[in-house]
Amino acid sequence: MNIKRIAELAGVSVATVSRVVNHPERVRDETREHVLSVMQQYNFTPNWFARSLNLESSNTIALLIPGIETDFFQQIISGVETVAGNKEYAVLFGQTNNYPTREAEFVDMMINRKVDGIIQVNSRLNGEETLLMQNLELPRVHIGKNRVCTSDTLCYVDIEEGARRMTRHLIELGHKIIMALFDEANSNTSEQAFAGINRALRDTGHTIIFSSAQAENSVRGGYLAVQRLIQSKSMPEALIAASDLQAIGAMKAARDAHINIPDDLALASLTDSAVCSVLSPALTALELPSKRLGMAAARMLIDQIEGTLPYVDMPHDLILQPKLKIRESCGNTQDIYEWFD
């Protein structure tokens, strides 16, 4: 007997059965009575049913995130908040600054505050801290590509595929010396981008000279990195920046040195933001569906908390595709102002 069968027997949707259990007040009286009687008749008490009866729900979820400076993280927060609000959950928020110990402390704190579930963004938990999580039955979702903390549900944006398409695009435009600036504080994302760039380099028939460097993910980081390249006379033909902030810094450094973008240096950013389209030249960038990522993570978490689903049937990995927004800074000369791949 499962929830689907109960729904069939009761002649209602699965969602209605789940609501009878989780939010009986939202179901019409007759429907509720009817569904409950069917459940009784078939002796149906799913484990999540027991859980939601026994445990007091705090209607609170925790969001542990490395930082709040970048657009990417802000959009994730916005997405989580939106869905949590829709589902009448409050969000407790913790900024980990990429420190595993800080993250572990937060997890502890959140458990003590009886949150119903935790969303971890780019978790750094490993080793001993992971043990803590293993013994934890709390529903969890990881926003990030790996299963560092034994959470069985994760979602992420396919940066690798995005970086591959961006690199392929730069190669197609004829750039032969390509360099990537990675975010020194975000090795996880950098590794994925690097893998994608490598795939594009491998797949092309052309000989491409590729190099990479680490830089701070900020305007300053981009500025200094390009200044250094200019001074050491090792400017590439095309530069992939880790973020719009880095790219803006790179633009400023290039302008100060009378280097024309895109004629002397093609520029592209691995993250898009609202400013990219108003810069001059408009910045070619990868649009990461970060709000959608936050929304998806919150949904997957609440799915688990409410047991609203025959959970085993659900996909546990959710991958979102970024979109390459081809504008001007890469050397594209099409008349149309923006186009996409």
Binding site: S18, M300, L309, L320
Partner: protein, 372 residues
């Protein structure tokens, strides 16, 4: 008289489905479609993230309707409430969906199934906005992409095709292999309203979906073609304004027919009147079931190569001395049509090569084609 239809295991009480669009973008709209008698209602396309609307978003010139609407502006949680709130009566609810990856589609589809969707329609190749062309038209990934959804859900999955994607037998085969259970065709064509010559500007800010009566011939052809390529049911969409159009699609083999622009232009009541007129027509012709007419016209559709060339020429079927009309003369590149001294239209059979255009354009049927 029962004119019900079986679509992928679902019983539809008639052959009329309201298509994905803003008329079914919230509970009230869906309810009005149901109340007007639609056998099934397809929701506006739902995504994991809502999409804000731009204004204006509908453009029209003469009979040409264009829209720049992409995806629903409701959150998935709001859709849950919508699906809960509507009184379905005996109508089916089909959720139109889109996502950027296999797992996204699978997750969204499963959520909607659990919220009570009777079937799903993938908005595979919408003409507005930008998306991965590779998945919408043809790529090695398409099959995996669709299969992930089909394997995850336990309800029928239909693929909504653009004109381009419906034209590719190879792509159709891929979708079949992936396990879709029906095709909806066609989605809007990609279109632009025009250019303001003085201002040197396009008349709408981005490519739009071109729909309505002008795209019906394209859609009729696609229905017939899909019937030839595939054994899966076809749900026709494109340019239905009158009940006769519904019958045309059915006679070309459609399992059911979708209404879209006609609701946008004339309101929800048109749904009822089209359904009633189809049933009246069927009854008055003594047909007991849609099966009696479904695909009936396909036998008369032949490959071009099989049409035997005939030597027909234009002749007068009755004299014409109209001074207010020159359509036949204008039409003839061979200059075979002249007026004689009495002001009568005469076709010179030695010059005529039988193209038939004068006959098509004559408002009075004064000219016909006959054997040389």
């Amino acid at each position: 008289m029962a004119y019900d239809v079986n679509l992928s295991g679902m019983t539809l009480k008639n052959a009329i489905i309201t298509a994905a669009g803003p008329w079914a973008g919230n509970a009230e709209g869906i309810q009005r479609c149901i109340d007007a008698g639609a056998a099934a209602v397809i929701t506006e396309t739902i995504c994991l993230e809502e999409r804000q609307r731009i204004s204006p978003r509908l453009f029209m010139k003469d009979q040409q309707l264009f829209n720049t609407m992409l995806y629903s502006n409701l959150h998935l949680e709001e859709w849950e409430r919508v699906l809960d709130r509507i009184d379905r009566k005996d109508a089916k609810i089909i959720c139109s969906i889109w996502g950027t990856s296999a797992s996204e589609m699978a997750y969204l589809g499963k959520k909607l199934e659990n919220m009570g969707a009777d079937a799903l329609e993938i908005s595979l190749s919408a003409p507005i906005g930008s998306r991965n062309k590779l998945i919408g038209y043809h790529s090695p990934d398409t099959e995996d992409f669709i299969r992930a959804l089909v394997d995850t859900v336990d309800i029928p999955v239909m693929a909504k095709l653009s004109y381009e994607s419906a034209s590719s037998p190879y792509f159709i085969k891929e979708l079949e292999n992936a396990g879709v259970s029906a095709f909806s065709a066609i989605d809007a064509l990609k279109g632009l309203l025009g250019v303001d010559l003085e201002k040197k500007r396009v008349l709408m800010p981005t490519y739009g979906g071109y729909t309505g009566t002008n795209i019906r011939p394209v859609s009729l052809a696609m229905t017939a073609m899909l019937r030839q390529y595939s054994r899966l049911p076809v749900i026709s969409s494109g340019g239905v304004l009158h009940f006769e159009h519904v019958l045309e699609f059915l006679m070309l083999g459609a399992t059911a027919v979708q209404l879209a622009s006609v609701i946008q232009l004339y309101g929800y009541d048109i749904i009822y009147s089209i359904i009633a007129s189809v049933e009246n027509w069927m009854a008055s012709h003594g047909y007991k079931s849609i099966d009696d007419i479904r695909g009936a016209a396909l036998a008369s559709l032949r490959p071009f190569e099989d049409i035997v060339p005939r030597t027909l020429v234009a002749t007068n079927s009755k004299p014409c001395t109209r001074t207010d009309c020159t359509l036949c003369k204008q039409s003839c590149l061979k200059e075979a049509i002249t007026r004689n001294d009495n002001g009568e239209i005469v076709a010179d059979t030695s010059r005529c090569d039988g193209c038939g255009l004068c006959v098509e354009r004559c408002p009075d049927q004064s000219i016909r084609l006959s054997w040389r």
